[in-house]
């Protein structure tokens, strides 16, 4: 039993790495622009297919494809989306951008369907079957690598956000867009960069996920919902929150197998999403803050 638990725990942690990458993309866009990006699912899905082309078609090393090639491509895609679709409706009620990006998602799905058909695809790499034992717990090398890539990306982003001017400007805009503008920050440009970065993260997360799971043009929808769930749990401001949210969701999903059938695993995350939305609109950070504030007094 304890061994089982240990195995489940390890697999939860490994999954959480990828979850964190895709959620951070969503959180970044929401935090800076207050736009709910429903095309996130499409970017995750396209990321998987681009990785497929690079790895299976062009025989590229899977991690070079996912980390070096995919993100810049999707950064450009994100910038394009922001300029063409999002910017014209920034002043409209939030529902407008939500529906608009939903339309973009539908289009992306269809484009993938036309190019790659509806067939389910998988990417098999030399690492796919490799595993080693940590004590008695078997660890899949591929999943570990994906986890590590996710974590390193987030750490690198954290450095970028806290150390560079651009990163600081993005954080300032997320906190108070009007004040950031007054302080001389070009918030239009920041919006564009944030959308680009968020989409790049989605694409990368999609590419990484494709190394583990099978995918088709509908792929991405449930991951986007999970990302929402994590963002709601973890809040949009902090890396720590997103990491914590990812871990909580991954644990809840993985451990749920002990009580309910595997087919209902996603059910758990959707229920957590709805409950989290209802119970704590500010996410975990606000919960902590509230506690802290009470103690202060």
């Amino acid at each position: 039993m304890t061994l089982n638990l240990a195995i489940l725990f390890v697999s939860a942690v490994l999954v959480a790495g990828v979850y964190a990458t895709m959620s951070y993309g969503l959180a970044l866009i929401f935090g800076v622009m207050k736009v709910i990006n429903l095309s996130h699912a499409g970017a995750i899905m396209l990321g998987a297919y681009v990785a497929y082309v690079l790895i299976v078609g062009l025989k590229m090393n899977p991690f070079i494809a996912a980390v070096v090639v995919v993100p810049p491509l999707f950064f450009l895609l994100g910038i394009l989306l922001e300029r063409v679709f999002v910017r014209p409706v920034r002043k409209a009620p939030p529902i407008a951008s939500l529906l608009l990006l939903f339309g973009v998602w539908l289009m992306m799905q269809n484009i993938a369907y036309i190019i790659w058909t509806g067939e389910v695809r998988t990417i098999t790499t030399p690492y796919t079957m490799m595993r080693f034992n940590l004590g008695a717990v078997p660890i899949n090398v591929n999943r570990l690598a994906v986890f590590l890539v996710g974590v390193f990306t987030l750490l690198a982003l954290h450095q970028f956000m806290t150390r560079t001017y651009l990163g600081k400007a993005i954080r300032a805009t997320a906190q108070d867009s009007a004040a950031a503008k007054l302080a001389g920050i070009n918030t239009d440009q920041i919006d564009m960069v944030a959308f680009g970065l968020g989409t790049a993260l989605a694409g990368m997360a999609g590419a990484l996920t494709a190394l583990i799971y099978a995918f088709d043009p509908n792929f991405g929808g449930s991951y986007m919902l999970k990302s929402f769930c994590i963002v709601v749990l973890g809040g949009v401001e902090s890396f720590l929150g997103v990491a914590l949210g990812s871990l909580i969701l991954a644990l809840a999903e993985t451990l749920s197998v002990l009580w309910i059938r595997a087919g209902l695993q996603d059910f758990v995350s959707f229920v957590i999403l709805v409950l989290a939305l209802l119970v704590m609109p500010g996410g975990l950070p606000e919960l902590f803050q509230r506690r802290f504030a009470v103690r202060q007094r």
């Binding site: 509230r290 504030a293 202060q296 007094r297």
Partner: protein
């Protein structure tokens, strides 16, 4: 004069900050009660607590001697306390008449049965506030002064007992200011008690029977306009702003 609206020890914290701290107030029936204070003094927060938008951290609000703390905004409106919004919020895609109809169809007037014919009531209010010629104009096409007037008209259509006016004068030109001051007096003459937050000193000093001054969320003075204007604490709080009428 009987007390109609009363607050005891009203306190509201946001995070660790006190927006309103331990404020007592007492509004008499039929008076115009002014609420002033520097920016961030907690005036709008206090309004929102009365209107039921925020629940106070502690303290109680009484309306006609009955506690209404923590009631929902629509319940409070139906009981007879209607609030206008500092940043005017008309229903933009509705006409002026339709905007006022919402107040007439859902406010206290309808609930108590005092408003039988909703449309007639709405027209009566439009006549009273001078908006009747613009009844069929879409609210999004109104100028700011008209929007402010519509905000008052919509609230009046609910047939309030107490009307909370949040900065309905700020931003108006001198003529419009005088018009609105007159409107406020006329509303009071119909027997409606008025509590108003206002930045324009001349206006609030001119129409109020009594004034309460908030600073950093605490009450620092209360009394007639003259008493308040000569209160040293108030002068200190407003240092740099001219209180001279």
């Amino acid at each position: 004069m009987a007390g109609i609206l009363e607050g005891k020890g009203v306190t509201k914290y946001f995070g660790g900050l006190a927006a309103v701290h331990n404020v007592d107030f007492y509004v008499h029936e039929g008076e115009i009660f002014g609420l002033i204070g520097p920016n961030g003094a907690g005036k709008t927060t206090l309004f929102r607590i009365i209107a039921g938008i925020y629940a106070p951290t502690s303290g109680q609000i009484f309306f006609r001697g009955k506690e209404i703390t923590g009631r929902k905004p629509y319940e409070i409106c139906r009981m007879g306390i209607t609030t206008t919004h500092q940043v005017v919020r008309p229903f933009l895609d509705m006409t002026v008449l339709e905007n006022v109809l919402v107040g007439a169809a859902f406010g206290r007037g309808w609930v108590t049965g005092a408003t039988r014919d909703v449309r007639k009531e709405a027209m009566r209010v439009l006549e009273f506030t001078g908006l009747a010629p613009k009844a069929n104009v879409l609210a999004k096409n109104l100028t700011l002064p008209d929007r402010k007037r519509l905000e008052i008209a919509r609230a009046l259509a609910t047939r309030p007992v107490v009307l909370l006016l949040d900065e309905v004068i700020a931003g108006l030109n001198p003529t419009e200011t005088l018009q609105t001051m007159q409107l406020i007096r006329e509303i009071r003459n119909q027997g409606i008690t008025i509590v108003m937050v206002e930045h324009v000193m001349q206006a609030v000093m001119g129409v109020s029977d009594r004034i309460m001054v908030l600073n950093y969320g605490e009450k620092i003075a209360e009394g007639s306009p003259q008493e308040v204007a000569t209160n040293p604490q108030v002068i200190a709080a407003y240092l740099g702003t001219s209180l001279a009428v």
